[in-house]
Amino acid sequence: MATPVSVLRLPKGPDPNSRGFDPNSPRFVALCRTSISTSAAEADAKELQREQRARSALRERFLRCLLTMTNKKVQFHMHEKVDVEATFGASDIDVLNFQVSDLHTPIGVQKEALIRCQDVISFTFDM
């Protein structure tokens, strides 16, 4: 006799217009909303512009950092003192997941993997 199995709903992926994740998806609401809001909500337009400029300058540097990291050996330091090494591939736009290859876990090597950023404390690489 078949037992009913509850359906596991995966978060909605990026919309076809490639504008990133749906702002109404549970994943976005849970993890991203605070990161997008401005601190200058009630401030004047000039303040907002200054903030946007700062945001873009910081983000560009960060994206360039991610770019230099691709195909490099990266050491991830996770909770409970777990250290794993992997070859960095990519990150999603809201930095929730990293795609890595050859993830050296304590029980073996995983060829391809997604690492949830919430589980990572920090990661290091050499240039």
Binding site: N17, S18, R19, C32, T34, S35, I36, T38, S39, A40, R50, E51, A54, R55, A57, L58, R59, R61, F62, R64, C65, L67, T68, M69, I93, D94, V95, C117, Q118, V120, I121, S122, F123, T124, F125, D126, M127
Partner: protein, 251 residues
């Protein structure tokens, strides 16, 4: 607690005094006092002039206190920018501590990128925003390190091309886009496409700038498929049609 209950007393205090008290308050009870909210709530009842004064004071407080008050995640890009290029000590979790030159803070995830220079390169540590507990400035930025950090991630520049070669390349891309019915116009040394994309010298696919991802992707792919670009690389000229492909006569 004292200040929250006694507004009049609060009004008398100087900036430093309240700053100090708020600190003590935080250290003593472990609660975070949100001064800016407090100001907003109380100043509705006050005269406009006093309200203005309060706002100005609140802003200076915010500057010093927000990282402590709001936590690193909610400090905002303007505050994060204050730490860029400085040598900082990062408190991570309960026991960990990391030092290094702060390269950037990702405005989306609040992750901090620290760089430590060595003789043979550099080691980079990215600390995820959610793990950052506290940030302390150890050393202010100096022009030399700031420049070093700025150049750290920039792609290698190709300024070796002479103006003649550049204009030849510009015209090549211009004609190729025009041939593909893409509205393009020259704007000094750069090319503008449909008012939404700029191609800077030396006009490679990676030299395109646009805030529209779709246009950027299309134009980049178009430039990539530009036929005469292949001539730039002498290696391509020597490619011959493989004998197997000309074997249709054999049929």
């Amino acid at each position: 607690m004292f200040y929250l209950n006694n507004c009049c007393c609060f009004r008398q205090l100087s900036t430093e005094a309240v700053y100090g008290s708020a600190r003590n308050f935080k250290g003593g009870s472990g609660t975070i006092l949100d001064l800016s909210c407090f100001f907003r709530k109380e100043t509705h009842k006050q005269a406009p002039a006093f309200r203005g004064l309060c706002r100005a004071q609140a802003r200076t407080f915010c500057f010093h206190l927000t990282v402590m008050q709001r936590g690193w995640l909610h400090s905002g890009p303007l505050l994060w920018l204050q730490y860029v290029d400085k040598n900082v000590k990062l408190k991570v979790g309960k026991h960990e501590e990391h030092r290094g030159w702060l390269l950037t803070v990702d405005p989306v995830s609040a992750s901090v990128v620290l760089v430590n220079f060595r003789e043979d390169g550099a080691s980079v540590r990215v600390v995820m925003g959610h793990a950052v507990e506290d940030v302390e400035v150890l050393q202010e930025s100096d022009p030399e390190t700031a420049e070093r950090l700025r150049l750290f991630l920039l792609p290698p520049t190709t300024s070796s091309l002479d103006p003649e070669e550049l204009s030849r390349r510009r015209m090549g891309v211009y004609r190729w886009l025009e041939k593909n019915r893409v509205p393009v116009e020259e704007d000094g040394d750069s090319l503008r496409v449909a008012g939404a994309l700029t191609i800077l010298a030396p006009y490679r696919p990676e030299d395109c700038c646009s805030s529209n991802q779709i246009i950027l992707d299309r134009i980049q792919r178009l430039i990539q498929s530009q036929p005469h670009l292949l001539k730039v690389d002498p290696g391509f000229d020597s490619i011959q049609i493989l004998p197997g492909f000309s074997g249709s006569q054999e049929l």
